[in-house]
């Protein structure tokens, strides 16, 4: 495991540490003994069949889901019941959802400025300048004054990415960002994510886009029934899976 990603240089670089994580929905054991370390600048792709717990895992990382056992530490702060810890962690993490979840009653620009204005107490002008810069980065600044409902799915998802970037996060979580998109729009979103990766953002991405995974990931994690079955560098993962379950999965989707 020493050869994971070229960017792993220093043990202190560890930005997310998950130790022995267990989670239940009622009596259903969704996550079992998950251990994962994410280093600064690393790009991790999580794949696996539906119901394998991959979304739940990344939703635990910013405590949209609560875990019952184990530890999650995000840049030095452990996620506990303490509201202060949770908001601390959330400020460092941006998240993008499968269904975009832009706020439909606010303009694109207001969607972006909401958190900076209220959490960072940024003056409106400054927040808007920041938002416009980010919209430009995802190439959608010409739509800033529209309502989210007027945009296409791909555009909405790019706005959602910009919104997540507004709080200047250290890590980005993507929960199947292209699953709800028309095929013609997948690429524009993946391009933006790839650009982010290129700029050195740490990210964890749940996706079924294996081509994308191959291109940008430093590490691919394969999950099934709540466990991490296999993790490896992309080329080895695809060419030489160690477990039969992984092999079967890859045979199904490639």
């Amino acid at each position: 495991m020493a050869m994971i990603g070229e960017k792993m240089t220093h043990p202190n670089d560890c930005i997310i540490e998950i130790i022995n994580l267990n989670k239940w929905f009622g009596n259903f054991h969704v996550l079992k003994n998950i251990n994962l370390k994410v280093h600064k600048g690393e790009i991790i792709v999580i794949c696996g069949p539906s119901g394998s717990g991959k979304s739940t895992l990344i939703r635990c990382i910013n405590r949209i889901e609560k875990h019952q056992k184990g530890k999650i530490i995000v840049s030095g702060t452990e996620l506990t019941e303490k509201i202060k810890n949770v908001s601390n962690v959330r400020r460092n993490i941006g998240m993008v959802f499968q269904s975009f979840d832009l706020f439909p009653h606010l303009t694109v620009l207001e969607n972006l400025t909401l958190a900076p204005c209220w959490i960072l107490k940024m003056p409106r002008k400054k927040a808007e300048a920041l938002a416009m810069g980010l919209l430009e980065r995802v190439q959608i600044h010409d739509q800033a004054f529209k309502m989210p409902g007027q945009l296409s799915g791909g555009q909405q998802q790019r706005v959602a990415i910009a919104r997540a970037l507004c709080m200047n996060p250290k890590v980005m979580l993507f929960d199947e960002p292209t699953s709800a998109l028309d095929p013609e729009m997948v690429k524009e979103v993946l391009d933006v994510i790839q650009q982010l990766a290129h700029d050195g953002m740490t990210m964890i991405c749940v996706t079924h886009e294996m081509g994308f995974a191959k291109q940008v990931a430093n590490r691919i994690i394969f999950m099934d029934v709540g466990e991490i079955v296999e993790e490896n560098q992309p080329d080895l993962f695809f060419s030489n899976p160690r477990w039969d379950r992984t092999q079967k999965f890859l045979n199904q989707i490639l």
């Binding site: 959802f97 706020f103 909401l114 959490i119 007027q150």
Partner: protein, 370 residues
């Protein structure tokens, strides 16, 4: 336009067909009439029956209401031989119907209040001022108008038992609406609280108020409350009734708003959590605006109902608009004009309620997000 010259390098260039206008029969007035009035045999039959019905009822109604009616402004009862409505009755009783027994020498005060009220309403409906100013306006307005009507601050006080008529109805309704919407929203949010104490207090309040008719609440406010209050402590009757109306209305509004809160998807709350908003911000900036948007129609419905419900205050001795109509119809000098009185009453109620529902429609249209 896909002639051969376009195909030289094996790629056909796609050009969409132009949009054509819809065929005549399916558009315009003819299309509408055909579609809506004569689309089937049953529909045609119903249309014809409707025409016959209107033919039979409209002309006599119009002649009573307008053509044969007496429009003179003279303060005497109309001659017996007139078959139409006698609108001079309304003219004579107009002051009482509008302001109750409010003393004549101070009448300019409620009139000024009405003018201000109508101006603010117009500004609201036509969206002449910004939302923030609107909120300030509407919070100052009740205080200002109350001072005008009640007296104080240099104005001669006028006893509350003399207030009445439409002024009293709209006053009770406006303050009722202004207070019960925020209170209802708070109750609805409280009902979804994770704090068990807050939650049970809210549920208790909502359910116990909703389980009782408004008349009972008014009776309790007016008759029973003074018995329970400590000796010497006295809240006047009008205020007690107003509080009763506010409580009653806010319980219903709470349930309406709760429906809207439930319609906001979980993803919205998660997204708001994920960008780091605190819980009150999630509620105020993300959940509530969407929830309220969902329930504008039923919220307006509650406001209309509240306005009409104010006519129940007659049973605790307040003479609102309907009360004054009733009293006027019983005036020995003007006996036999019940029809005019109640038609006028219905018309005024209708105009106000219909305006409210049109305003509701316009808020809905103004908040289309797509």
């Amino acid at each position: 336009m896909t002639d051969l010259s376009d195909t030289t390098n094996d790629i056909l260039i796609f050009k969409p067909l132009p949009d054509l206008p819809a065929p005549f029969e399916s558009a315009g007035i003819v299309g509408w009439v055909k579609e809506n009035l004569f689309s089937s045999k049953t529909n045609t039959l119903l249309t014809l029956l409707g025409i016959v019905f209107l033919w039979q009822t409209l002309p006599p109604l119009a002649s009573w209401l307008i053509i044969d009616a007496t429009w003179s402004l003279s303060p005497e009862p109309c001659p017996i031989e007139n078959t139409g409505a006698c609108w001079s009755f309304i003219v004579v009783k107009f002051r009482v119907l509008m302001f109750g027994l409010y003393p004549e020498e101070y009448l300019w005060r409620p009139i000024l209040a009405v003018v201000i009220f109508v101006l603010v309403c117009t500004a609201t409906v036509l969206r002449l001022v910004r939302t923030r100013l609107l909120i300030i306006l509407w919070s100052v307005l009740p205080v200002l108008l109350l001072v005008l009507i009640n007296g104080g601050m240099g104005l001669e006080p006028v006893e509350q038992s003399l207030w009445g008529g439409l002024m009293l109805s709209t006053g009770l309704a406006s303050i009722g609406i202004l207070m019960s919407i925020p209170l209802g929203i708070l109750l609805a949010i409280g009902r979804r609280s994770r704090l068990i104490l807050v939650k049970s207090i809210c549920i208790g309040l909502i359910e116990s108020i909703r389980g009782v008719p408004l008349i009972t609440i008014l009776f309790m406010a007016s008759v029973m409350l003074p018995i329970f209050l400590p000796h010497g402590m006295d809240i006047n009757n009008l205020l007690r009734v107003q509080i009763g109306i506010i409580l009653f209305s806010s319980a219903y509004i709470a349930e309406v708003v709760r429906g809207g809160l439930q319609a906001v998807s979980k993803g919205q709350i998660e997204a708001a959590d994920a960008i780091g908003l605190k819980q009150w911000m999630v509620t105020c900036f993300v959940v509530l605006p969407q929830a309220l948007r969902h329930v504008i129609p039923s919220l307006i419905g509650r406001c209309v109902a509240l306005f009409k419900d104010t006519s129940l205050v007659i049973i605790v001795g307040l003479l609102d608009f309907l009360g004054m109509i009733k009293a006027s119809a019983q005036d020995p000098q003007w006996l036999g004009y019940d029809a005019e009185a109640y038609v006028f009453c219905a018309f005024v109620y209708w105009v106000i309620c219909f305006s409210m529902s049109r305003y509701g429609k316009s808020i809905e249209a103004h908040n289309q997000w797509q």
